[in-house]
């Protein structure tokens, strides 16, 4: 999968001189669908228009098929190879067939060739019945289909869809999604902007988020530090057909493994199942939240506090390793010390010590598994059944977030979250939200009972806590020995 178009040092200000973007690099690989999210005003549309050659950036270095091009030349190429579709597509005041023929007529083809291509395209999009209708009189979904077809007949290399699914009913959405998938299978790269968290799993190979990290600076968060392999990709594309199905691996049994998993349309991905826990272990990434300030421990980095000779984070890693597929450490200080544990260490993607939600978001955008398990770095007695139980509850309740509960209180940082929540989380954070509970409340929440694990949520906040934990840990070991 080679990159054919690369925008470097892309800068664009809006009137008044406010800097809208300052993007180091934005690359577009061939035959890929990128979902671009970001809240209103983040500049999604402006970015698309620049990519389409419709809007001029203040500065950009363009590499097109490996060739450096000045803007004027690049713009010509972009106008030819890229088609931009408005959120509400514009229909020329002509018939559907004439609309589809618009680009072809101006591409030097003769009348016969144009008519032939239009007829084929109409059939492709099942629009033949509407061919002679005035395109302005169509419904929103039909207009979207005409617009997609009108773009497709030109065989663009890149198709930019601005919120193609906004304000559409369920049928129109399904048809549109279907068309987008077909375009992808024909080798057209697409960029789709969307507010909706779930879209990326339906059509996207990659998810990028345009985010506001300061008063006037925007960056592109580049997701997926760990590239998914091609096998997984093919597994995911099977799942595309099940739009709207939200009962993924709940009914999965061992029989669904490997080969069969690919055929099963309900399967989210071809994960190997853990025989004992029957949870898709490989699809869970644990993130240890060690990014806090630890004010009550006089600023000492909690994850590195030694308990019985080993750092707290080490104890946690030991308990988590059998439970999940991969582990990340979220830290903002003493990074080198954390790196010694040989797990990826990720810093907060925004702000300064904004709290655990930012740690979760950072974890989510750095991973590519379907689920994210979060644990704090200061609770050494994590139950060995944490991931399993949270996962089952998540499936049973068809929830977005499964959170631990100790019979009296919710323990929000012990949670299992679906990866698709990232855009929603980013939007919440960018709007200034910092409270876990408030953000959780926006989603389907499953409370998972851990009252039979009384020590699970003991955490170390003061030097006294440390001592009692050490005693307890020694005691536990003695119990195990006897």
């Amino acid at each position: 999968m080679s990159v054919f178009l690369q925008f470097k040092h892309l800068r664009k200000s809006i009137h008044g001189g406010e800097r809208l973007f300052d993007i180091d690099e934005f690359s577009i690989p061939e035959n890929t669908c990128i979902v671009l999210s970001g809240r209103n005003g983040a500049g999604k549309t402006t970015l698309l228009k620049i990519l389409a050659g419709l809007d001029k950036p203040d500065h950009v270095d363009i590499l097109y098929d490996g060739e450096h091009l000045p803007w004027k030349l690049a713009q010509q190429k972009l106008l030819h190879d890229v088609v931009y579709l408005h959120q509400q597509p514009y229909m020329f005041d002509k018939t559907v067939a004439e609309n589809i023929a618009y680009g072809l007529r101006r591409s030097g083809l003769n009348r016969v060739q144009v008519d032939e291509k239009v007829a084929q395209a109409l059939q492709w999009a099942q629009l033949s019945k509407l061919a002679t209708r005035n395109a302005r009189q169509l419904s929103g979904g039909e207009k979207q289909r005409v617009a997609l077809t009108r773009a497709r007949v030109l065989s663009p290399r890149l198709l930019l869809l601005d919120e193609p699914l906004a304000s559409m009913d369920i049928n129109a959405r399904e048809q549109t999604i279907h068309l987008i998938q077909r375009l992808k299978s024909e080798g057209v790269s697409t960029i789709v902007t969307s507010h909706e968290p779930h879209i990326s799993t339906l059509i996207g190979d990659e998810h990028r988020h345009l985010c506001k990290t300061g008063p006037c600076r925007y960056t592109v968060v580049k997701p997926f530090l760990f590239q998914r392999n091609m096998e997984q990709r093919s597994g995911l594309s099977k799942q595309h057909k099940t739009y709207g199905s939200r009962e993924p691996s709940a009914g999965l049994t061992l029989a669904d493994k490997a080969g069969q998993a690919n055929k099963s349309p309900v399967n989210r991905s071809n994960t190997t199942m853990n025989e004992h826990t029957r949870i898709p272990k490989q699809q869970i990434t644990a993130v240890i939240l060690a990014g806090g300030l630890a004010r009550r421990m006089s600023g000492q980095d909690k994850g590195l506090i030694e308990i019985n000779g080993r750092a707290m984070v080490e104890h946690i890693i030991t308990t988590l390793t059998p439970q999940v597929g991969s582990i990340l450490i979220n830290a903002n200080r003493n990074l080198d010390q954390y790196r010694r544990y040989a797990y990826p260490v990720i810093e907060d993607l925004m702000g300064e010590f904004f709290g655990p939600l930012v740690g979760m978001a950072s974890g989510m955008q750095a991973t590519n598994t379907d689920y994210l398990l979060t644990v704090p770095c200061d609770s050494p007695f994590i139950p060995p059944v944490l991931a399993e139980r949270l996962f089952h509850e998540l499936q049973d309740k068809q929830a977005d977030i499964s959170v631990a509960h100790d019979s009296t209180r919710m323990q929000p940082v012990f949670a299992l979250l679906r990866k698709e929540l990232l855009p929603s989380l980013m939007t919440y954070l960018e709007d200034g939200g910092r409270k876990i509970d408030t953000w959780y409340a926006e989603h389907r929440l499953a409370r998972t009972d851990f009252s039979d694990w009384p020590d699970a949520f003991i955490n170390i906040n003061t030097p006294d806590d440390k001592e009692s934990v050490e005693r307890k840990m020694t005691h536990q070991k003695d119990v195990h020995k006897t």
Binding site: G53, L79, F92
Partner: protein, 233 residues
């Protein structure tokens, strides 16, 4: 009152008996004004488009100027062009004073600001997406411009109609530049002025009726076209 009715009856008789003098006057009127509009429209549309979509220094000043020129009195245009074309004027050698060409020039000057101002308003209000869609689908800038004009054609046709209405009904500039020469530069409005001063009201009213009828026909045609396309219900 009875006098008015009587003269109107005479006017209708004149119209339907095909009085050659009367129809010659009518044809001069239409030929001059149509030529003026046909020459002025393409240039005005192009300028209006640039004012609406290009960004260049002096753009706003130009827009204000054309809006102001809407209020230009026909006699002032007549006077100015008379001075320019008269024997002693800078363009006296062209010998255009008291010719139809001279009248056409006067009428172009009269209708041009109106065409520009109205077309500019229409193109300015056009859906920005139309331009972007055309361009992203591979249209060259001039093709996209034509597409955009097609999309707002009713607004542009209305501008042309208004421009035609203004110059076919003006009297000041035609009188001064054309000189009201029978069978050559006497058009409907100058004829009405003359007949009225002579007390020949019947012919004046007949000509007035023709002016009104032609305006009515034009507007009917426009509305009919839009109704057929489904934009007016």
């Amino acid at each position: 009152m009875t006098q008015l009715l009587e003269t109107s009856r005479q006017a209708l008789v004149l119209l339907f008996t095909g009085d050659p003098a009367l129809w010659s006057i009518v044809s001069i009127s239409f030929s001059v004004s149509l030529r003026a509009v046909l020459i002025a429209t393409p240039v005005a549309l192009l300028l209006a488009f640039l004012l609406a979509h290009a960004r260049f220094p002096g753009r706003r000043v130009l827009i204000s100027t054309f809006n102001t020129l809407l209020a230009l009195p026909a006699v002032v245009v007549g006077l100015t062009i008379y001075m320019l074309l008269s024997r002693s004027g800078p363009f006296g050698d062209l010998k255009l004073l008291f010719t139809q060409t001279g009248m056409v020039i006067g009428q172009i000057v009269l209708c041009f600001p109106l065409l520009v101002a109205f077309s500019h308003a229409t193109l300015q209000a056009a859906d920005q997406r139309a331009w972007e869609t055309a361009v992203t689908l591979g249209a060259k800038p001039w093709q996209a411009m034509l597409t955009l004009m097609y999309e707002v054609r009713y607004g542009l046709i209305a501008a042309v109609t208004a421009a035609f209405g203004r110059i076919i009904a003006e009297v000041g500039s035609s009188m001064m530049i054309g000189g009201n020469i029978l069978n050559y530069t006497r058009n409907i409005t100058t004829a009405i002025a003359l007949e009225t001063s002579k007390g020949e009201f019947a012919q004046g009213i007949a000509l007035g009726i023709i002016l009104l009828l032609s305006a009515l026909l034009l507007n009917f045609a426009l509305t009919f076209m839009q109704a057929r396309d489904g934009t007016v219900r």
